[in-house]
């Protein structure tokens, strides 16, 4: 799928500087996102120190060695990348972006590069300008990993961008929006990225419970702190503020099946910005999930509708918390699909009659993890389901991936450049409802359809399930009540 490059006017809007000149002067860095104040002295040296420390303790060296030996510069990734297709700027070619970091690796961490560096008279040396270029370039990427899929040499450009952001963050050069949220999550009073205190959480959920009783005439509960539950629930915490319907859908499914699940008041945030900018943060956040599940003596980690939260738990809980002894991680869509297959969930196919389509979040589809399950569910109760192409593992990114959606100051960039190809795709599909089971995708896609004026509503999968769910019997004495009894024991 191709798109036309943006016009000069669109470009001016997308890349409009948001910062005052004196801030740029102070940071000696003109990137589009805000950065907190940091030590601006001797950046090349500090970059290399951080790079060396990371290489020493991680497995990145393996990939970098492999990639510098075989990168053939075929430029196939260019035609895959939605950012390059929109800007037409060759500096947005994934292979070019990767080369920014690979050239540093080659120059400073290989024998041949060191030799050539000395003979070449400093032309290959890392300079302040190169650091600046990386800081800019690495955050143009939405880390959707489509380029990796199309690279004949199997070069993982997303891995290189991920590493580049990690190195920059060790120098204090990470987007402020992400750092501030993470600080609250790891060191703040509330312990979550949206800074929701426990009393507010409880109020919200009680309010939703009342709402659902009114809606459905059924008592649907959000069990809190129930020890020994089958599933300990970690949604993207922002869902408690912004995605009430998704949460209500999930609670409704559990009420229908009677399985035990719980939200822990010790920690209830699935968001892990570490996946976007720092492995050190990734590790610390993953460990919080592990600790809370242990505290509640839960059996499985259940992640809500969120792509990056699912991926960071599924792939990194085993990495940091005991390998095959780590808690199994499942995404809520896997659970809902399972109980629907078992016949424990009934959905009314006459409720959602609009044209519905499904957007694959990159973080759960690119590695072929969850692709068919939500589709089977949707087809079961949405008679007007339509498919977008490309989809599944080849799906086009919403344009807000890799943490960029949380950086509010770059919204014009996200909706004019990052999401352009997606906007074209949605327009062509002509769907009235777009299901995007990911907190990041939902926020980005809503902003995208608003800015690009596409008449389409963006919802979560469980928003629709909430509408269509059928309850067999009154819930007096149902599983949720049993859970409350257990809590009282």
């Amino acid at each position: 799928m191709r798109t036309r490059p943006i016009t000069p006017e669109e470009k001016a809007r997308a890349f409009k500087p948001t910062k005052k000149p004196d801030v740029i002067e102070k940071q000696k860095l003109d990137v589009r996102y805000h950065i907190e104040e940091f030590d601006t002295g001797d950046r090349p040296r500090r970059f290399l120190e951080a790079f060396a420390a990371i290489l020493k303790h991680t497995n990145y060296g393996l990939a970098l060695d492999h990639f510098i030996r075989m990168s053939a510069k075929c430029s196939r990734c260019a035609t895959t990348c939605q950012v390059f297709q929109a800007t037409g700027d060759p500096r947005d070619i994934p292979c070019y972006r990767s080369e920014l970091l690979l050239s540093v690796y080659r120059r400073y961490f290989t024998v041949g590069g060191a030799l050539r560096g000395h003979l070449g008279g400093g032309g290959m040396d890392l300079t302040d300008e190169k650091v600046q270029e990386m800081a800019d370039s690495f955050w143009n990427c939405t880390a959707c990993r489509r380029c990796t899929l199309e690279c004949p040499s199997g070069i993982d450009h997303a891995l290189i961008t991920h590493l580049g952001r990690f190195i920059l963050s060790e120098m204090g050069m990470a987007p402020r929006a992400l750092v501030v949220s993470t600080r609250e999550q790891l060191e703040g009073q509330t312990g979550n990225t949206s800074a929701i205190p426990v009393p507010a959480l409880k109020d919200t959920l009680e309010f939703l419970e009342e709402d659902m009783l009114g809606d459905k005439g059924v008592e649907i509960k959000f069990p809190m702190d129930v020890e020994g539950s089958e599933y300990v629930f970690f949604p993207a915490v922002s869902d408690f503020l912004m995605e009430a319907e998704t949460l209500m859908g999930i609670a409704a499914v559990f009420t229908a099946t009677g399985d035990s699940w719980t939200t822990g008041t010790g920690y209830y945030d699935g968001i892990n910005y570490g996946l976007f900018y720092s492995d050190r943060i990734l590790e610390r956040v993953v460990k919080k999930i592990d600790a809370e599940t242990k505290r509640l003596k839960g059996k499985n980690v259940l992640i809500g509708e969120c792509g990056h939260a699912s991926r960071s738990a599924k792939y990194f809980l085993p990495a940091y918390c005991g390998g095959d002894k780590a808690f199994p991680v499942i995404n809520i869509m896997e659970y809902t699909h399972k109980v629907w297959k078992e016949g424990r969930l009934k959905l009314d196919p006459t409720i959602v009659t609009q044209k519905v389509s499904y957007h694959d979040p990159c973080n759960i589809a690119r590695q072929r993890w969850i692709i068919d399950k939500p589709r089977e569910l949707l087809k079961a109760f949405c008679p007007n389901y339509i498919e977008m192409t490309p989809s599944g593992e080849d799906n086009i990114c919403c344009g807000g991936g890799g943490g960029t959606v949380s950086i509010d100051e770059i919204r014009p960039y996200r909706t004019t450049v990052g999401g352009k190809l997606k906007a074209d795709q949605i327009r062509r599909a002509g769907c009235e409802i777009l299901v995007a089971p990911c907190a990041n995708c939902k926020k980005q896609l809503r902003e995208l359809v608003e800015d690009q004026k596409i008449p389409c509503e963006v919802v979560g999968l469980h928003d629709l399930i909430y509408k269509a769910i059928i309850f067999d019997k009154p819930t007096a004495g149902s599983a949720t009540d049993n859970q409350h009894d257990k809590k009282g024991e």
């Binding site: 030996r69 053939a72 199997g154 918390c321």
Partner: protein
């Protein structure tokens, strides 16, 4: 001339071929060793073998994604590679040389097939260079070696074709044969140290990419200690 020709296809060839074999063995062993070490360091030892194997095969026998992006380039590139791999290994004249030298022989390409493969390699090789020059997204990221390699790879094909198919004077034949052999030797020597190393590394790419995402445990503290940042706030 005669002596130099014999030297080139005798001792010089043996030296260059040995450099290639040892060089490729070196990077292959280094790569596998690094992969094993990464696996041992990784906190999560489960590897998605089904996905790794299917994606590796997708690229070793590229058909699935051929037409997704840059279809013309992709098809040209594959046709170029087919001749590039098959002709040097399975040409009757080459196999004969191996047989007389070490007594080993293997099946060979029919004369006509070899001829057409040689022509297609030359044509598509030139087309690839042209494409690299003319497509802005390709020329922007190209290095010197990206233009140099298809050119130098074509020399043995062009000279070999001339020697095999044109009726030329013995002197001229010897000259082209010498260029053919010297260019071949140069390729052997350079191959392990340049991007052409992908001829042995490519099958490992998917494993390497997967292993690099398998992070070792307790890296937070280790990196913080190395950078003197232990206990520093977020």
């Amino acid at each position: 001339m005669e002596e130099f020709l014999n030297f080139s296809r005798g001792p010089l060839f043996r030296l260059c071929f040995a450099v290639m074999i040892l060089g490729l063995a070196r990077i292959l062993i280094l790569d596998i060793w690094a992969a094993v070490m990464a696996y041992r360091k990784a906190g999560d030892k489960t590897l998605p073998w089904g996905l790794i194997i299917s994606r590796s095969l997708e690229w070793l026998f590229p058909a699935k994604r051929l037409f997704h992006n840059r279809p013309v380039y992709s098809v040209f590139s594959i046709l170029f590679h087919i001749g590039l791999i098959l002709v040097p290994i399975f040409l009757f004249a080459h196999v004969q040389l191996w047989q007389s030298a070490i007594g080993l022989a293997w099946p060979t390409l029919p004369y006509d097939v070899a001829r057409w493969l040689t022509i297609s390699t030359i044509v598509f090789g030139l087309a690839l260079i042209l494409g690299r020059l003319l497509v802005p997204s390709a020329s922007f990221i190209s290095r010197k070696q990206d233009y140099f390699w298809p050119l130098i790879l074509l020399i043995p094909f062009v000279t070999g074709f001339i020697c095999a198919h044109l009726s030329i004077a013995p002197q001229t034949y010897q000259f082209f044969m010498l260029v053919h052999i010297l260019a071949g030797n140069l390729i052997f020597v350079l191959l392990p140290f340049t991007k052409i190393a992908h001829c042995v590394l490519m099958p490992l790419s998917q494993v390497v990419g997967t292993l690099a995402w398998k992070f070792p445990p307790e890296t937070d503290e280790a990196i913080a200690t190395t950078l003197n940042k232990k206990g520093a706030p977020v």
